[in-house]
């Protein structure tokens, strides 16, 4: 990828042309094979009962027994639904799991990153529960169709449905980025795993948490949908990096979390992916009232680990005039808290407490 390499590759011009031809031929063969295989698997076991998840019909008459949970939201969902004993493996935590799940999680086989497809298959799972949408791509564990060929069903959180199987973040439908979609998902998974009661409890809990916040906000400002612009602080979820900042854009679930907490995502207009690069100048222009620093990705992470980055933002001379910095409103947060899942409801509460300190 380095320019110097690219130049070196240019030197023997004839060979490189031949190589390119050869490579594209290989690619053609590879993609052709991939396409054929997927088509062949388009209509599989004709289950009596199915549940739709991101345009994939998941058979629901036989609860999965060997579940692989990839990413934080999936792992926490599995524990919350009480199916921890059906887990054959877990992977890629972004932060510490909640207190009540620490012990069960400690017993699980755990991969700090996503395992390879082969490693996954060695656990002989019959279900892959994913917390994000980039799990089922050719580069990662393989498409959902390709796993189904091996008798493995799968699940993607519906607030992150890709436009088609095999794709990921670039194509999220913003209308699905709602708390309702998380509740629906939990109920569907409850049905799938024969854990409807637990699912209902979990959903009721989350609904109550969000309702508390909504009630408090509406008591002060009137209906949440009609809240005045000036009553809604702008909130940027941003993490400093080499290129400036990494921020959460419109299709990210944090947009819904911030909205329910009575604020507005300062980078809501950025679409085409959940995460975006933003320069310091971009932050200055948007002038957010609050900056939440979302540390990531380690099984030991907590919001307190954001402290050095919070300090760096407060000390950055360029950002001195940004409202969030001037008013000392840069807060510790975690990437896990802005993911779509069980944490979303408590996250609404946390964000509301941060941006409306007088009310909570």
């Amino acid at each position: 990828m380095k320019p110097s390499d690219a130049w070196a590759a240019l030197r023997p011009a004839r060979t490189s042309v031949r190589m390119t031809a050869l490579l594209s031929a290989l690619l053609l063969v590879a993609t052709a094979c991939g396409g054929g295989a997927e088509e062949g698997a388009a209509d599989p076991e004709a289950a009596d009962e199915t549940i739709a998840n991101c345009d994939v019909e998941v058979p629901a008459d036989d609860p999965p027994e060997r579940v692989f949970a990839a990413y934080q939201p999936a792992i926490e969902t599995a524990h919350a639904l009480g199916i921890s004993d059906r887990l054959v493996g877990t992977a890629f935590l972004d932060a510490q799991v909640p207190e009540e799940h620490v012990d069960v999680q400690a017993e699980q086989e755990y991969y700090p990153g996503l395992p390879s497809r082969e490693e996954l298959l060695s656990h002989n799972p019959d279900f892959v529960l994913s917390g994000f949408n980039d799990t089922f791509t050719e580069e990662s564990l393989g498409t959902r169709a390709s796993l189904r060929e091996l008798g493995i069903e799968s699940w993607v959180p519906s607030p992150l449905c890709p436009s088609e199987d095999g794709r990921s973040d670039e194509s999220i439908d913003p209308s699905t980025v709602t708390m309702e979609h998380i509740y629906d998902d939990l109920r569907d998974l409850g049905a799938l795993f024969d854990a409807e009661d637990r699912a209902e409890e979990v959903v009721a809990d989350m609904e109550a948490t969000v309702a508390d916040v909504t009630d408090t906000l509406e008591g002060e400002f009137g209906a949440l949908e009609e809240m005045d612009e000036e009553d809604r602080p702008t909130v940027a979820i941003a993490r400093p990096d080499d290129e400036g900042f990494r921020v959460a854009g419109g299709p990210d679930f944090s947009t819904e979390i911030i909205g329910l907490a009575g604020g507005v995502n300062a980078f809501e207009d950025l679409d085409g992916g959940r995460n975006h690069d933003a320069s310091a100048e971009d932050i200055i222009e948007r002038d957010p009232d609050f900056i939440l620093v979302d540390v990531c990705c380690d099984a030991e992470m907590t919001a307190a680990d954001a402290a050095p980055d919070v300090q760096a933002i407060l000390d950055d001379p360029v950002l001195a005039n940004v409202t969030a910095v001037e008013e000392d409103q840069v807060a510790e947060f975690t990437f896990a808290d802005r993911s779509a899942g069980l944490r979303s409801a408590p996250a609404v509460e946390t964000v509301a407490e941060t941006i409306h300190p007088d009310l909570f």
Partner: protein, 372 residues
């Protein structure tokens, strides 16, 4: 009338040709050999050209301060220093745009000069701190320092970058000299490409292990000027200054080295001293440049050739010209990178190759680059 004038000039040329130092060499010679005198034959033309290039660099540097996410006016820039009020404009100019532009100039000059040194001392037309694995070595060492020793400020890892640069250079030289017939340009370039690829993939592996979002640390894989700020640039300055002075002091000895080892020795040049001095300068220049902006390739190999096409092989001209032309290329690339995918940015390492490559290919096709 016109005919007669033409005849007259032709006549005059015929009589002046035998003189060794005519104002402009005939166009033929510059396409003939790499060792030719270059487009600008006389000292006067070279000096004037250098002044013009410097003026152009000043203009581009100003553009680099003005153009970006927001556009500024000259007046705003002046006010940021003369009438500082602490407004957003003042802050952006003082803490982002100006340091970034200075970093572009410093990094560019360092890479251009380091390229001339490597090409001169190895007499290898492909010599480039990027192509010989030096930038990749510095980047890997810096990344190691950051991820395993928690170094954060530039001063914390620039030392590591030096060691990495030096080690990479040694390994490439050793691997490139294996075999019965010693080192050759092609073998060195091959070894450099292989070691660069190896070190680059190690860097990627460490950076990806960090597991924050995948492209968070692209800086260390491609190279970018965004990371340069008002603290890192002054910290890098002394290292670069020493490297540049050392390089300029080597100009005359490098001219002698260009004549060949035996001749150079018989003229009383201490070859090992020239080589050691060059190596030190290259490590200082390329190591610091990489610590400041990540591994940026292409500038170091292309700019010396462009400079050679203009002013010929004399290092006393080649070094200052490269020191001006390289930042020119880098800054233009950086500005383009800021504008084309606004509001996001394309990294300067990518843009330099995109802009420079066609120009360079043209050059290579016109001249026999291998004839250094």
């Amino acid at each position: 009338m016109a005919d007669r004038t033409a005849e007259h000039t032709a006549d005059r040329h015929a009589t002046t040709r035998p003189e060794p130092r005519s104002a402009r060499p005939p166009a033929r010679t510059r396409t003939a050999r790499a060792g030719g005198p270059g487009l600008l034959g006389s000292s006067a033309a070279r000096s004037l050209g250098l002044v013009a290039a410097l003026a152009l660099l000043a203009g581009v540097a100003m553009a680099s301060v003005l153009i970006g996410y927001q556009r500024f006016t000259l007046e705003e820039v002046q006010l940021a220093y003369a009438g500082y009020t602490g407004s957003d404009t003042d802050l952006v100019i003082r803490h982002l745009r100006v340091p970034r532009t200075l970093a572009g100039i410093l990094v560019g000059a360092a890479l251009g000069v380091a390229g001339v040194l490597v090409q001169g001392v190895t007499r290898n037309p492909l010599g480039d701190p990027g192509l010989l694995g030096i930038n990749a070595g510095a980047a890997l060492a810096a990344v190691l320092a950051i991820s395993f020793f928690g170094a954060t400020a530039l001063l914390g890892y620039v030392g590591f970058a030096f060691v990495g640069a030096a080690l990479a250079a040694c390994v490439v030289h050793t691997v490139g000299s294996l075999g019965p017939d010693g080192s050759s340009p092609v073998k060195l370039a091959l070894a450099g490409a292989a070691i660069s690829a190896l070190l680059g993939s190690l860097t990627s592996a460490i950076v990806l292990q960090d597991r924050a979002t995948l492209d968070e640390y692209r800086f260390w894989v491609v190279g970018s000027l965004v990371g340069a700020d008002s603290t890192s640039v002054p910290q890098a300055l002394p290292f670069l200054a020493v490297g540049l002075v050392l390089a300029l002091a080597l100009a005359r000895p490098l001219n002698v080295v260009a004549l060949g080892d035996d001749l150079a020795r018989s003229l009383g040049t201490r070859l090992w001293l020239v080589r050691a001095g060059s190596a030190l300068a290259v490590v200082l220049l390329a190591g610091t440049a990489t610590a400041l902006a990540g591994p940026i390739g292409f500038v170091g190999v292309a700019v010396p050739h462009i400079a050679r096409a203009l002013v010929g092989p004399d290092h006393r001209w080649l070094l200052p010209w490269s020191a001006v032309l390289a930042p020119l290329l880098l800054l233009v690339a950086d500005i383009v990178g800021r504008v084309v995918v606004r509001p996001e940015e394309l990294q300067v390492g990518i843009v330099t190759a995109l802009i420079g490559a066609p120009f360079f290919i043209l050059l290579v096709r016109r001249r026999k680059v291998a004839g250094l």
